[in-house]
């Protein structure tokens, strides 16, 4: 049956700059100065090494379950690199490298995963939200921050991170729709790492790309090789600049891959083939960027060791953390402690004082128990 086709027709673009051997498509070179290239590389290496270290810390029971980033360094750093300190970064739960770039001390991140609420406290001058555990729920916050910035006349941009699985949640939809209507300076960065725990993208959505979901909101959506830090940078730069210029939000889909476990409580051998992982290891964002820098003679000697030392020092600071005071949890429930919480606090304080005397089991203090029960230790 013949029908009119509505204009405009829609399209989604794809960008890649470095090939898997680290060769540059010169026409697309974002022309970052050597200092920036080195800074990016260092941050990626730090992300990778810290990730590996954290897996070991978790296996030793020194921190709890966490979500490793291995394979996603370029997606995170190419994008976050475009932000100013006064811009806002809204993470999900797998942005360790981006968080460190934004100034989160490593030991705070370790504290967070060791079950200390202190680990969620951004510095007073830091424009970063803490980790958000419920998938996609942070996206409307990003839109609200962007609205507020615009309302106040500040030229801040907001960058929000989330995964491919997150795009199925209602909050993703509502956030992008509000962003479109309000035309606010927010950049949505989807790290499409192909998996949401055990669910592959094709069971997550029937759309071929995440980027095309932007069309539902009248927004530009673009797909980028998420293992190509220069391409991610170029796309993010453009989106951030447009946002800052008042040209509204963008959805960026970084096509990447989670090389490791979903979290340290996960066993991916249960749901995905080793060959798939091997194939993506060939596209490792670090290898590729390293090859490129090598060609440009920008590799730094001893980088790995220096990074490892930085991590080791942070781990030492983390380990030196005094045992947590259970009474402080009452401090931040409300601005002022209401009577019932004061009473509960007093009760707990008395208990902590008298408990030992009465032979009672003292509340556990340092978090050195067994790993999360009910979830298996994994092999990868």
């Amino acid at each position: 049956m013949p029908r009119t086709i509505l204009e405009p027709r829609f399209q989604v673009e794809y960008l890649s700059i470095l090939d898997s051997e680290g060769n540059l498509d010169a026409a697309l070179d974002p022309k970052l100065p050597p200092g920036d290239l080195k800074a990016l590389h260092r941050a990626m290496v730090l992300g990778r090494r810290l990730d590996e270290r954290m897996v070991r810390l978790q296996r030793q029971g020194r921190i709890g379950t966490f979500a490793p980033i291995k394979g996603q360094e370029a997606s995170q750093l190419g994008s976050v690199f475009t932000l100013r300190r006064t811009d806002w970064m809204v993470p999900s739960f797998r942005e360790t490298a981006a968080m460190i770039w934004r100034g989160w001390p490593i030991e705070k991140i370790l504290l967070f995963f060791a079950g200390y609420v202190e680990g969620g406290q951004p510095a007073p001058d830091q424009h970063d939200l803490p980790i958000t555990v419920p998938v996609a729920t942070q996206l409307p916050h990003a839109v609200g921050l962007a609205y507020a910035a615009q309302y106040r006349g500040d030229d801040a941009v907001v960058m929000a991170y989330f995964g491919d699985g997150a795009t199925s949640e209602g909050d993703f939809h509502e956030a992008l729709n509000f962003a479109g209507v309000w035309h606010v300076p927010v950049v949505f960065v989807c790290q499409n790492n192909q998996w949401a725990i055990s669910v592959p993208l094709k069971k997550q959505t029937h759309s071929k790309t995440i980027a095309q979901k932007a069309l539902a909101y009248g927004l530009p959506g673009i797909q980028v090789d998420g293992n190509d830090v220069l391409a991610v940078y170029a796309v993010a730069r453009e989106a951030v600049d447009r946002a800052r210029a008042g040209e509204g939000p963008t959805l960026i889909e970084c096509v990447t891959y989670r090389l490791g476990v979903h979290t340290t409580a996960d066993d991916p051998t249960k749901y995905r083939a080793e060959e798939e992982v091997r194939a993506w290891e060939q596209k490792d964002p670090l290898t590729r960027f390293r090859a490129y820098l090598e060609k440009k003679d920008l590799l730094e000697d001893g980088l790995e060791q220096r990074v490892d030392e930085e991590i080791a020092e942070a781990v030492r600071r983390f380990e030196a953390t005094p045992p947590p005071d259970p009474l402080t949890v009452f401090d931040h429930v409300y601005a002022e402690m209401p009577p019932h919480l004061r009473a509960q606090r007093d009760e707990l304080a008395r208990w902590l004082r008298e408990g030992a005397a009465t032979g009672a089991e003292a509340p556990e203090t340092p978090p050195r128990a067994t790993p999360m029960r009910g979830q298996r230790l994994t092999r990868r």
């Binding site: 609420v117 202190e118 969620g120 406290q121 951004p122 510095a123 007073p124 830091q126 939200l129 803490p130 419920p134 729920t137 996206l139 409307p140 916050h141 990003a142 839109v143 609200g144 921050l145 962007a146 609205y147 507020a148 910035a149 309302y151 106040r152 209602g170 909050d171 509502e174 956030a175 729709n177 509000f178 209507v181 949890v329 401090d331 931040h332 429930v333 409300y334 601005a335 209401p338 009577p339 019932h340 919480l341």
Partner: protein, 331 residues
């Protein structure tokens, strides 16, 4: 209290006035919700505010409760003070995750670096011949969430004062407005902004024989029941207007029952696992040795929705409160 210029207003106008005055006072206060702008809200509580403050400050949002609360959380994290309207409390479960996961928790999660100074207004309760999801009383769900405050005024003056307090309160406040009260009566309201402490109940009638605890639209029911008890039984009833459901003012409640030894709690919410259970348990904990009779609960039945043709049979009325009071007195 010094003499003050007063104006007679119904609850809709009183709330509107609180919003107007707070918006004039503080440029960080803004309004967000479905139909709150051009239309002035389906109950007209935000009437005329968009004309006065512009569509950037009184925002007609798309139809999505989770994003209304979620974006308001983001605004609050930035330092603004959003006042959100959820069109009917029956549609707030759509945003319950944003309220419970985030609005209530950001202060704790960020250890004080961020907090959500925001108010979430919702019309609640029955009495307006309305459809399903337009007549329910869901205060219990909010009262149980640490980090939230849950406020329910009982008339124009308390509504105006408590909304002013809620907007100025650094913590997230769920603010329920009884639809039955919106136009029920006018009260004298002072010209100058007035506040009331959140977390404090009011003794609105003193008595020594029995304590009636109520809030929102049920306050009138409790007061009229007290009149009947006085007139017909010579019973002196103390009536408490809770005003804040959470944090609950146990001190005032316990002090009253410590004196009277008997209590009846009245609410429109279903009974089981409802607000009256906490009030009864708190009375038992605080005034056990003074209790002459079990605390009685006069509430809606444990039915989600009855249809307005049967509504009166389901919600507490004066006669049932009087009957429960008499049984409590005779215990």
């Amino acid at each position: 209290m010094t003499a003050r210029a007063m104006t007679k207003l119904n609850m809709v106008k009183a709330l509107n006035w609180a919003l107007l005055q707070e918006m004039e006072r503080d440029p960080d206060v803004l309004i967000l919700g479905e139909d709150v702008g051009v239309d002035g809200g389906v109950f007209r509580v935000t009437d005329d505010l968009q004309r006065k403050f512009g569509s950037q400050r009184v925002i007609d949002s798309p139809l999505a409760e989770a994003a209304i609360i979620g974006t308001a959380v983001g605004m609050a994290l930035y330092g603004l003070k959003p006042v959100c309207e959820i069109q009917f409390s029956g549609f707030a479960f759509q945003c319950f995750h944003q309220i419970e996961n985030h609005a209530a928790r950001y202060r704790l999660r960020s250890q004080g670096r961020f907090h959500c100074q925001m108010v979430i207004r919702m019309p609640y309760g029955g009495g307006v011949r309305a459809l399903e999801h337009h007549t329910e009383s869901e205060e219990q769900f909010y009262a149980h969430v640490p980090g939230l405050k849950m406020v329910i005024p009982s008339g124009p003056r308390t509504a105006r004062a408590l909304l002013t307090s809620a907007i100025r309160d650094p913590d997230p406040v769920i603010f329920f407005e009884s639809k039955a009260l919106y136009h029920a009566a006018k009260e004298e309201v002072p010209e100058e902004p007035e506040t009331l402490p959140i977390g404090t109940a009011q003794v609105v009638r003193e008595g020594r024989d029995l304590t009636l605890v109520a809030y929102g639209a049920m306050l009138r029911v409790a007061r009229e029941a007290a009149d009947v008890l006085q007139a017909e039984d010579g019973v002196e009833t103390e009536v408490l207007d809770l005003l804040t459901i959470a944090p609950l003012d146990r001190e005032t409640i316990v002090a009253s029952v410590g004196k009277t030894g008997r209590a009846v709690v009245v609410h429109e919410a279903p009974r089981s696992f409802g607000p009256a259970a906490e009030i009864a348990a708190s009375i038992m904990e605080g005034a056990f040795l003074h209790l002459e009779a079990p605390v009685r609960r006069v509430t809606a039945n444990d039915v989600s929705f009855v249809g307005f043709a049967r509504e009166k049979a389901n919600v507490p009325d004066v006669a049932r409160v009087v009957a429960a009071a008499r049984e409590t007195l005779a215990f």
